[in-house]
């Protein structure tokens, strides 16, 4: 068996999600090749070669792949992927955008967001907002799979010595082009890889009040997240949303502040090791998943928490 893993990167750095995806590939077993498709992404290729467990790094360096446009990258992945038994990508927005397109070009039914590998053709994945776990078996000759990164421990970025090969394919479908992007700036850890996450919900009342969460976050080295209600109300930007339709996190400690705990939010955080809920409504569903619940007004409790840390 041979597995092609699609690297997530920004042309300068290999993203952590790639390391979790390689861990899933290891669980399947076989030679693991890593594809780095981008523009001026040589440094990413070099870093990728050192990652534990990678046999070969394929670097497709071309302007067509610079912004990871799905139309172009999917074609490349389908071209290269024909010779592999498995194609894996992290279930990030980049992976989710590109991978199903590549799968359809190969005429296979992809499997989204796996949380466990049972065997080379059988996988577990959550459905219905994480209320049900399905075990699915694929009969396709090539298994195309996106990996829920929080379900697999990252492999080491050291210890590997893979050969780097350049790929001379330039697929530009010519139907799409990159216009621009607005990335949220933050010096706190990334939400999906943080060890501690503190999230605010509608109970925060406004965006300025999130300041009290930032203070706690800075003391704990935590990332700050939000429920959909807080995002929809315009308190914070959408990339902070934790839930079925936002980011899936599984930190050691998740602190939910002023969040009721709708099914859709729980889908994004209930695999956290320890969950703390601070809410003044003692009937809030969040308390049914919280290891430690504090029934209190968050505007008293959170500043007090900050001083006691």
């Amino acid at each position: 068996m041979s597995i092609l893993v699609i690297a997530e990167h920004d042309n300068a750095e290999l993203k952590g999600a790639t390391l979790n995806t390689i861990a899933a590939a290891k669980a399947i077993g076989g030679d693991i090749d890593l594809l780095v498709a981008g523009e001026s992404c040589g440094a990413v290729g070099e870093a990728a070669a050192k990652v534990d467990g990678v046999s070969k790094v394929l670097v497709a360096d071309n302007a067509a792949y610079g912004h990871q446009l799905a139309e172009n990258v999917a074609k490349l992945v389908a071209d290269l992927g024909k010779d592999y038994s498995h194609i894996l990508a992290p279930a990030t927005t980049t992976g989710k955008n590109m991978l199903p397109r590549a799968a359809a070009l190969l005429d296979v039914q992809p499997i989204s967001d796996i949380i466990a590998v049972e065997s080379a053709d059988t996988f577990k994945r959550p459905i219905y907002a994480g209320n049900v776990v399905a075990t699915v078996q694929s009969s396709d000759p090539i298994k195309v799979i996106s990996v829920r990164t929080t379900a697999f421990d990252a492999v080491s970025t050291e210890g590997g010595s893979a050969a780097v090969e350049s790929v001379d394919i330039a697929d530009d479908a010519g139907v799409s082009s990159f216009v621009g992007e607005e990335l949220a700036q933050s010096d706190r850890p990334e939400l999906t890889s943080a060890k501690v996450v503190i999230s605010g919900g509608r109970g925060m009342q406004n965006g300025d009040n999130f300041e009290i969460l930032y203070k706690v976050a800075d003391k704990l080295g935590a990332a700050v997240g939000a429920s959909r209600a807080a995002v929809d109300a315009g308190f914070v930007p959408n990339d902070m949303q934790v839930g079925q339709t936002g980011k899936i996190v599984a930190p050691d400690l998740y602190i939910a502040v002023g969040i009721s705990g709708a099914i859709q939010h729980l889908a994004g955080m209930k695999d956290s090791k320890v969950i703390v809920a601070i809410n003044k409504d003692e009937e809030a569903p969040i308390f049914s998943v919280a290891d430690y619940g504090l029934v209190a007004d968050l505007f008293d409790a959170v500043p007090e928490l900050e001083t006691k840390l």
Partner: protein
């Protein structure tokens, strides 16, 4: 221009589904069914484009059992002009849905296909992207803003670090994210009028599509239950427990 909107009949988002006792499938008998929330946003966006004068006709299409007619009627009540039901009682996986949609796109030749980014039952997030591959159209997935500009459409997409804008040549596919718009409610007169709008029925066989499932569900089970937690009296106790009992800070 013509817009095709895909809508799916799913278990209502407020219902907490459970696996059947034998673990063969989820129990969907006698539960409330609705139009998938992301599909509702897709219909709304198509209707708004029509209200702006960009779009002249909206075709709503759904695939599945006969009852999926109800979701097409909902789309018609919200402002779609006519419906197409691809009727089958067999299991439809996203690849098969994408192939059926491709057959309908070939026939209807819409300039824009709008659909939800994922259905809340399968949580696959695949169909729009696969339709993109089969038709060769560009894809604007996870859209939070859509602007049609002559022969192109600009789509602002929700990505992990923030927002990204891409430009796609028409015809193109857009999949909707939650913040694209706030869907309207169907008014009673519009629900009545929707009953008179045309709804054609076809099936995968007529479309020439092989819908044989490629993956098999071996079992479904509830996720691991969390241990019941404790309520703490105050912040001091919380900090003490996190430090000494849970050892996470």
């Amino acid at each position: 221009m013509k817009v095709l909107v895909a809508v799916k009949r799913v278990v209502d988002y407020n219902v907490k589904v459970r696996p059947k006792a034998d673990g063969s499938d989820v129990d969907t008998a006698n539960v409330k069914m609705s139009i998938n929330p992301f599909c509702e946003i897709a219909v709304e966006e198509a209707v708004r484009l029509k209200e702006k004068g960009v779009v002249s006709e909206i075709v709503a299409v759904s695939m599945g059992p006969k009852q999926s007619q109800e979701q097409i009627r909902t789309a018609l009540a919200l402002g779609a002009d006519r419906g197409i039901l691809v009727e089958t009682d067999d299991e439809l996986q996203p690849l098969a849905v994408a192939k059926c949609l491709k057959a309908i796109v070939d026939k209807e030749e819409p300039q824009l296909v709008i659909m939800g980014k994922q259905s809340i039952d399968g949580d696959n997030n695949q169909t729009g992207q696969m339709l993109g591959a089969l038709t060769g159209m560009g894809q604007g997935t996870f859209a939070s803003e859509v602007n049609v500009d002559g022969e192109a459409v600009k789509v602002t997409r929700e990505i992990d670090g923030g927002l990204q804008t891409v430009e796609l040549k028409l015809p193109a596919i857009v999949t909707t994210d939650l913040r694209l718009n706030e869907p309207r409610y169907a008014s009673l007169p519009n629900i009545m009028k929707a009953k008179k709008k045309p709804l054609d029925t076809t099936n995968p066989g007529e479309l020439g599509v092989d819908i044989t499932p490629r993956t098999k569900t071996l079992k479904v089970e509830p996720p691991a239950e969390r241990q019941a937690g404790v309520k703490v009296a105050d912040v001091a106790e919380l900090v003490e427990k996190l430090k000494n009992e849970a050892k996470v800070i």
